[in-house]
């Protein structure tokens, strides 16, 4: 059908294809000449940016999948192999890991853009719904991807989130077993999550296609929120917006590269580098920042729904019903406020009657529970997303853009702040005053959608709209953009929870900062300390002897070091295991045959493997250094258990390991004085290298990449300016 009014192409090959399958005509129509409002601000870059990150995630994901093993015994090791042995594996993994953070950040800004400029309103309701669907799919994908490294955070994150479904009445337990494929998060869970983590991105691609299709039917909204009236109001998508998007992409890629190359683990949690242990939950289990808001809403429902709370909620619900009815008539406020206040009072009474073990006030029949807090929390969390999906029907104000709706704009910005507060609360330990703050913030969240937005739809008087886009052209997006970036980084930085031991003092490390590299001599000395002291009890199983070439040893030296170790091999032709001298390709042998033997030999305490220890502990090398230098006589009155030792920086101050380093314990080959301080510093440097052997290479590459991207941004900016030179916007 499209063939009928097709313009022929000059290029004969393109023409041949296009006359049979008009893909080029389609591309030209949708991405070439597509009429786009001329007044987009930089907020409108975020759709294209989301697309870029989606593609980046799929590409890195597919290549990572080629080196990943979805099995409980292999998953963690295969991820470490990607980080250490696969060519550029560390780059792909860090791109994927940080790509998830950026994908969410970009999408959150994209959603907020939609709310601010009323992009969800008629005729774009379906476009909005498809967007929410993409967001839900993204959450599912991110969650399942998070489990794949099979770390402590993976396993316990998966346990907590899947357990949400146990709140479903009657079938909850069996539903959770269905999700797990067993009685806990285990190998079957990992396998299915991997399959689904691979599948979902392609579902997202499908829904994105529908999202873009719907967008191209209605056309884009714009900062003024008024429909383009003539061709004077629009520009062809290419080259105006393709080039503007490319400029925006280059700039965001600079920030992204900074994270990938210089702070790749700053948005993650150190427990993500500890293998999953089904018997021990980490003390602070916190989701990634992009889920914190919903996590806070889940945890805010600490109360069971007794008859007072339920009645209060019903009354408040009844009070707002008139908001939605007879939209042309004036509202009769007294009954609405009256019923609303009664509902609120009932709710508060029911709430207080449960506080402090019911000792504050006594309410008769308060023990009748209509719904548990657990189910309430899950419903509130689901409701938080559902409320956003209903936005096109909750807001029927004829004016789209918040630019002309000062009241809506005010409450929307409060809503944004509210979301940030929720995000911060989600990262806190569930104690007062954080609980009450998250409860109030949750209250505002729902009030915004179900009370404020419909109420404003009725009563807000908008400022006069310009008659056409061409007439009024302004841009002030940078300010709001900044708010978004600050909010995101604020949440990320607050995500690390407090610990009971004092913070380890920061040391000067050779590998600090963007230009820091591992000090070779310190690494070698640290290796000597490891070999002569730590190796008696601590393994280093992810390191091979061949890796020692990184420390500056020659191939012959590495072979000699390896030959000093005895390695178990076999079975031989007789079927027996035997020991032989080590080779360069062997991994460091573990001092114990297995964890049980290690525990047995150490009073029940397991000396952890040290190959990832710096990444697996909060504060990294500073922490290792602090532990090694933190031995002190126990203060008076401190109850020290038998066989334990006092350490200032160890959580709980009781550590099974006796002070490992004494002055002069190791005779350094280079003549450096082996004080405890010096040895701690050296061995921490060595272990930092063991955790992240490609760090020096990563930083070197990062500098090049960022310089390149800066250059590219300048070029793209110039191209954009040149193209836009004759356009008033």
């Amino acid at each position: 059908m499209a063939n009928k009014n097709r313009e022929p192409f000059d290029n004969p090959v393109i023409e041949w294809v296009d006359s049979r399958l008009p893909v080029f005509t389609l591309m030209n129509k949708e991405y070439g000449v597509f009429p786009t409002p001329r007044n987009f601000n930089y907020f409108w870059n975020f759709g294209a940016l989301a697309m870029v990150f989606l593609v980046l995630m799929i590409l890195t994901g597919v290549f990572l999948a080629m080196n990943y093993a979805a099995n409980e015994n292999l998953a963690f090791d295969s991820v470490e192999r990607i980080m250490r042995d696969v060519n550029f594996g560390w780059l792909l993994r860090y791109m994927h890991m940080n790509g998830a953070h950026f994908f969410f950040a970009v999408v959150y800004i994209h959603i907020f853009r939609g709310m601010y400029y009323g992009s969800y309103k008629k005729p774009r309701e379906l476009l909005w719904l498809l967007g929410i669907l993409i967001f839900v799919l993204m959450m599912a994908t991110a969650f399942m991807g998070y489990t794949l490294p099979w770390s402590q955070m993976s396993g316990w994150g998966a346990t907590v989130i899947t357990s949400l479904f146990s709140a479903v009445p009657f079938v909850g337990e069996s539903l959770v077993q269905l999700l797990w494929g067993g009685f806990s998060v285990d190998n079957p869970t990992l396998n299915r999550f991997y399959a689904l983590h691979y599948l979902f991105p392609f579902l997202i691609v499908g829904v994105v296609f529908l999202h873009v299709w719907a967008l191209h039917v209605t056309g884009s909204n714009n900062p003024l929120g008024i429909e383009p009236k003539s061709s004077k109001d629009t520009l062809p998508f290419h080259p105006y917006y393709t080039m503007k998007d490319l400029f925006g992409v280059s700039v965001v890629l600079i920030i992204y590269s900074f994270f990938v190359f210089f702070a790749p683990n700053s948005l993650g949690h150190s427990d993500h580098y500890v293998p999953f242990n089904q018997l021990v939950t980490p003390p602070h289990i916190v989701p990634e920042w992009y889920f914190l808001m919903f996590y806070a809403i889940l945890r805010a429902i600490t109360f069971d729904f007794n008859i007072y709370i339920t009645a209060g909620l019903i009354a408040m619900g009844a009070a707002i019903v008139p908001l939605y009815l007879n939209r042309e008539k004036q509202l009769n406020f007294p009954p609405i406020i009256g019923i609303g206040v009664i509902g609120l009072v009932l709710f508060i009474l029911g709430f207080i009657s449960q506080e402090a073990g019911g000792k504050l006030i006594y309410m008769p029949f308060a023990e009748f529970k209509l719904m548990s807090a657990k189910l309430g929390g899950v419903l509130a969390m689901g409701g938080a997303i559902a409320a956003a999906a209903l936005m096109p029907w909750l807001d029927w104000h004829p004016v789209r853009s918040a630019r002309f709706r000062p009241l809506y704009r005010f409450f929307l910005i409060v809503f944004l702040i509210d979301c940030v507060i929720l995000g911060i609360m989600g990262a806190k330990v569930a104690e007062q005053p954080w609980v009450i703050i998250s409860q109030l913030a949750t209250g505002y969240y729902f009030a915004f959608f179900f009370v404020i937005v419909p109420l404003l739809s009725r009563i807000e008087r908008a400022k006069p709209l310009p008659t056409s886009i061409y007439e009024a052209v302004v841009k002030k997006a940078a300010v709001v953009l900044l708010v978004g970036v600050i909010a995101v980084s604020g949440m990320a930085s607050s995500a690390s929870a407090a610990e009971e031991a004092p913070e380890p003092p920061h040391q000067e490390w050779s590998f600090d900062g963007m230009f820091g590299t591992y000090d070779k001599a310190s690494k070698q000395r640290g290796f000597q300390v490891y070999r002569e002291v730590c190796a008696a009890c601590h393994g280093l199983e992810r390191i091979s002897f061949r890796n020692l070439e990184d420390l500056g040893y020659s191939e012959a030296q590495v072979k000699a070091i390896a030959a000093e170790a005895m390695v178990e091999d076999g079975p031989n032709d007789e079927g027996d295991m035997f020991t032989r001298t080590g080779r360069a390709s062997d991994h460091f042998p573990s001092p114990y045959a297995n964890d049980q033997a290690a525990r047995y030999a150490n009073n029940g305490a397991l000396p952890p493997d040290l190959s990832l220890i710096v990444k697996a502990r909060h504060h990294g090398a500073d922490y290792i250094h602090a532990i090694l230098t933190g031995y002190e006589p126990a203060p008076a009155g401190f109850q020290l258990n038998p066989g334990m030792h006092y350490n200032k920086y160890f959580g709980g101050h009781q550590i099974g390991m006796p002070q490992p380093l004494m002055d002069g314990q190791v005779a350094y080959a280079d003549g450096t004085k082996s004080s405890v301080e010096q040895m701690s510093h050296d061995v921490s440097t060595f272990l930092a290298w063991a955790s992240e052997p490609h760090q020096d290479e990563r930083k070197r590459m990062g500098l090049k990449v960022i310089l390149f991207l800066c250059f590219m941004s300048v070029i793209m900016y110039k191209v954009k300016k040149k193209i836009w030179k004759d356009v008033e916007h």
Binding site: M66, N67, F88, L91, L92, S585
Partner: protein, 181 residues
């Protein structure tokens, strides 16, 4: 004239800018693309595992064993005097891939023939390691997939395979221990 040159100058400046932009984008994409492709190459641990040691003591004359090296079978055969003689006295002009037996074995260890057990035709593993298996018309190996015959020096004599069985790099650590790779 001045009016005519001005726009063309601007034109060329713009072209240069666009070309630079396109080239920058292409360089960026290509560099990133290389990182992706390079992940498919053998990883550092794979490369490090490229040697294996074989104890020769239990192999009797006329017997052969198969060992795994880089995920492939390697045939280690202790040849009889008769087999060695047969391998040495072959007219080179009869061979598809001419090579003397001296170049395929090591001085002082002529009885040991070590070859990668992969048919050079399409990658099957030839028969002939066990006494019960057929060894083909030349007493070496016979590939069941498409009927290639190899002789007692692992050279192709008959059938579709183009090359002799590959001799891997190996060194004798001692008379009874050989390291392949």
């Amino acid at each position: 004239m001045a009016d005519e040159t001005k726009p063309s100058k601007q034109q060329s400046k713009r072209d240069f800018l666009y070309l630079t932009a396109a080239a920058t984008g292409a360089i960026g994409a290509a560099s990133l693309g290389w990182a992706f492709i390079d992940t498919l190459n053998p990883a550092a641990d794979t490369l490090a595992l490229s040697s294996t040691e074989v104890n020769l003591t239990p192999i009797e004359e006329g017997q052969a064993i198969t060992v795994m090296w880089r995920g492939k079978p390697v045939f280690v055969r202790r040849r009889t005097a008769q087999e060695i003689e047969k391998a040495e006295n072959v007219d080179m002009s009869l061979l598809r891939d001419p090579a003397t037996d001296d170049t395929r074995t090591q001085e002082g260890h002529r009885e040991w023939l070590i070859v990668v057990g992969i048919c050079t035709h399409l990658g099957c593993v030839p028969l002939g390691q066990k006494p019960s298996e057929v060894r083909g018309d030349y007493d070496g190996w016979f590939c069941p997939c498409h009927g290639s015959h190899y002789d007692t020096s692992g050279r192709i004599r008959k059938g579709p395979a183009p090359k002799n069985l590959l001799v891997p790099e190996y060194t004798f650590v001692s008379d009874s221990l050989v390291r392949i790779g």
